[in-house]
């Protein structure tokens, strides 16, 4: 389920750098949505940050294929689905955008020669790769850290039933197996799972809204 960036991150598999208008032409709405998020993350130039995040995603074979499938408004009918699911693509875009904005803020801080307290950020600089251009492997590591951080913050806040169903689902159990394990009906398991994801998403959304305020 996790983005398999490591497997296709070799230099030989990278796509040539895109011409900017190629991206913006087909993905205007996506750029606007990402720019809005970049603004909330504290970017001084949200549109450039969104463009940069999309450009970096374009350089990765799998994220590019997923971008084309899910976000091009003129995708061919019955086109073959990409290797990445929509979940994977959106998680990837989120972490790349966060990296780009952090990088931008780091550059600003360096230029101003001001000692900023970067450690006050939820996603502090220790979690960032070297200032040089990060490879897909590093971005993948960042994504893993972000996901771990999300779980450590949000999972304990869930109701115990929801935690239990997520644990069992995470262990690879099917609905009917979880139902037996918990002594519940399969419908109940499905409902709990749905609500668990919803509550987890609510916590993540609040977390995302806090990022730019720190």
């Amino acid at each position: 389920m996790q983005p398999q960036a490591a497997s296709n991150s070799g230099p030989g598999e990278l796509e040539p750098a895109p011409v900017q208008h190629q991206i913006s032409g087909g993905y205007r709405h996506l750029l606007t949505a990402l720019a809005s998020r970049a603004h909330r993350f504290g970017s001084r130039d949200p549109e450039a940050a969104a463009q940069e995040a999309l450009t970096r995603s374009w350089e990765n074979t799998k994220s590019k294929a997923a971008l084309e499938f899910y976000f091009r408004n003129d995708v061919a009918p019955h086109a073959a689905p990409p290797a990445w699911s929509l979940d994977q693509l959106l998680a990837w875009l989120h972490v790349v955008l966060r990296y780009v904005v952090s990088e931008e803020r780091g550059r600003v801080a360096y230029r101003m020669e001001v000692s900023l307290d970067r450690h006050s950020e939820a996603w502090n600089e220790r979690s960032l790769p070297e200032p040089s251009d990060p490879g897909a492997n590093q971005l993948h590591q960042l994504l893993q850290r972000e996901l771990e951080s999300i779980l450590s913050e949000c999972f304990p806040k869930l109701d115990s039933e929801y935690q239990a169903v997520l644990r069992l689902r995470g262990a690879g159990m099917k609905y009917d197996e979880i139902a037996v394990r918990l002594g519940q009906k399969e419908n109940t398991v499905a409902t709990w799972l749905s609500r668990a994801i919803r509550d987890l998403a609510g916590c993540i959304k609040r977390r995302m809204q806090r990022i730019g305020k720190k």
Binding site: M1, L86, Q88, G170, L182, Q184, L193
Partner: protein, 405 residues
């Protein structure tokens, strides 16, 4: 896309959360999310939640290690560790500290952080809970039916009359199938179970067979007999406890979970369902699955609460076990609700004493030692003399809290 409404998006997002959308639907959803920044954020948050759950090991217990990242808590922990060393040193140089009250009194009050436990040790520096269902040292509850070896067959709900002789019918179901002397067994003419032929009252019981008077009924060999749902559930529960007694906890939990699943669609009382849920909760706890234990105790409590004729003792016991579990994970507010919120008054003095002891633990964790002392004293006053282990716990709690004043 112009027809997209909030309800359409919500419904699609819910299906997306459950992993039910096809790639084409995902494309449609992704496109739709761009209509509104709020929708795009909702979709991204849901995607992150799904990805986190599927690609990162979900914590098996509250992420305690995360707390160490807090400098304040780290400093507090360090202070506690230093405090413990100081106390240990003080204990070594002193030749007079042998009773538990003094051990506790050596701890500077400002450093004393009560952490409820179920493990009793003489002179325990921590408040000890009393919870009958959670005492791991308690031997497995006696099973009424011998199931000593693993090859014992599983309980059956239907069997047959195998002999009719001298006014008595012998059936191929017995105690292993949940029957007891006096149990009723329905008799049918065939396997469809649609043509009743009467009822048998078990008079003589064996492990895999039973005999009953036929009376005036016209019963024949090969007629089908069926154990009531209640008796069958009892057999399933006994099967789980027998596995536990053999030390096969995994099988015991599997059997208990199967029993609950079967009971959900059977004609059994809510108290019987509660018994199965309570058993699974206890097995979960033994397996150190505290979240599972709490969930199944809650299920048991829900079943019991729905029963108009519920035993106040049963209700109080489950509430007390749940409160103890809540305190073990530091959820004192839930424990408070369970112990104080309109609780039933159990007839059994040991159950009343357990609750009072645990109210004392709750008060102690909240720093109210005067109230804690009062609860421990009350618990000790009503604890029967024939429960020496429970009395030792309450005595140690009382001695410790007195030493802290």
């Amino acid at each position: 896309m112009s027809e997209i409404t909030q309800s359409w998006f919500d419904e699609k997002l819910a299906r997306f959360a459950r992993g039910e959308v096809s790639p084409d639907e995902a494309h449609e959803l992704a496109q739709a999310s761009l209509e509104s920044h709020a929708w795009f954020e909702d979709l991204t948050a849901t995607a992150l939640a799904k990805t986190a759950v599927s690609s990162v090991p979900v914590p098996t217990a509250p992420l305690r290690h995360a707390r160490w990242r807090s400098p304040f808590l780290l400093a507090t922990a360090a202070a506690i560790v230093i405090g413990i060393f100081v106390v240990n040193y003080a204990m070594r140089v002193s030749s007079k500290q042998r009773d538990s009250a003094r051990i506790a009194s050596l701890q500077p009050p400002s450093m004393y952080r009560p952490s409820p436990t179920l493990a009793f040790a003489p002179g325990s520096a921590q408040p000890v809970l009393l919870a009958e269902g959670l005492q791991l040292a308690t031997p497995a509850r006696t099973t009424q039916v011998f199931r000593g070896n693993q090859s014992s067959r599983s309980p059956r709900q239907t069997g047959a009359i195998i002999l009719v002789e001298d006014g008595q019918a012998t059936i191929n179901l017995g105690s292993v199938d949940g029957l007891a002397k006096g149990s009723e067994v329905e008799v049918y003419r065939d396997n469809t179970l649609k043509h009743p032929a009467g009822t048998l009252l078990v008079g003589t019981l064996f492990r895999e067979q039973a005999r009953a008077d036929v009376g005036p009924k016209d019963l024949k060999v090969k007629y089908v007999v069926q154990v009531t749902d209640g008796d069958h559930l009892q057999a399933l529960i006994q099967q789980a406890t027998a596995s536990e007694a053999r030390g096969d906890l995994t099988e015991a939990r599997r059997a208990a979970a199967s029993a609950i699943k079967w009971a959900n669609n059977a004609t059994v009382t809510t108290s019987q369902k509660a018994s199965a849920a309570e058993l699974l909760a206890r097995l979960d706890f033994t397996a150190k699955d505290l979240a599972g234990a709490e969930m199944h105790y809650r299920a048991a409590l829900d079943f019991l609460s729905a029963d108009q004729h519920v035993s106040q003792n049963d209700l109080a016991e489950v509430q007390n076990d749940l409160a103890a579990l809540a305190m073990l994970r530091g959820d004192y507010n839930s424990a408070d609700k369970l112990l104080r919120g309109n609780p039933p008054i159990p007839a059994k003095p040991n159950l009343r004493a357990e609750r009072l002891n645990n109210l004392g633990v709750l008060a102690e964790t909240r720093g109210d030692r005067t109230q804690a002392e009062s609860f421990y004293t009350q618990a000790l006053a009503i604890l029967p003399q024939d429960l020496p282990n429970e009395r030792r716990v309450a005595e140690a709690n009382l001695a410790r809290v007195k030493g802290l004043h």
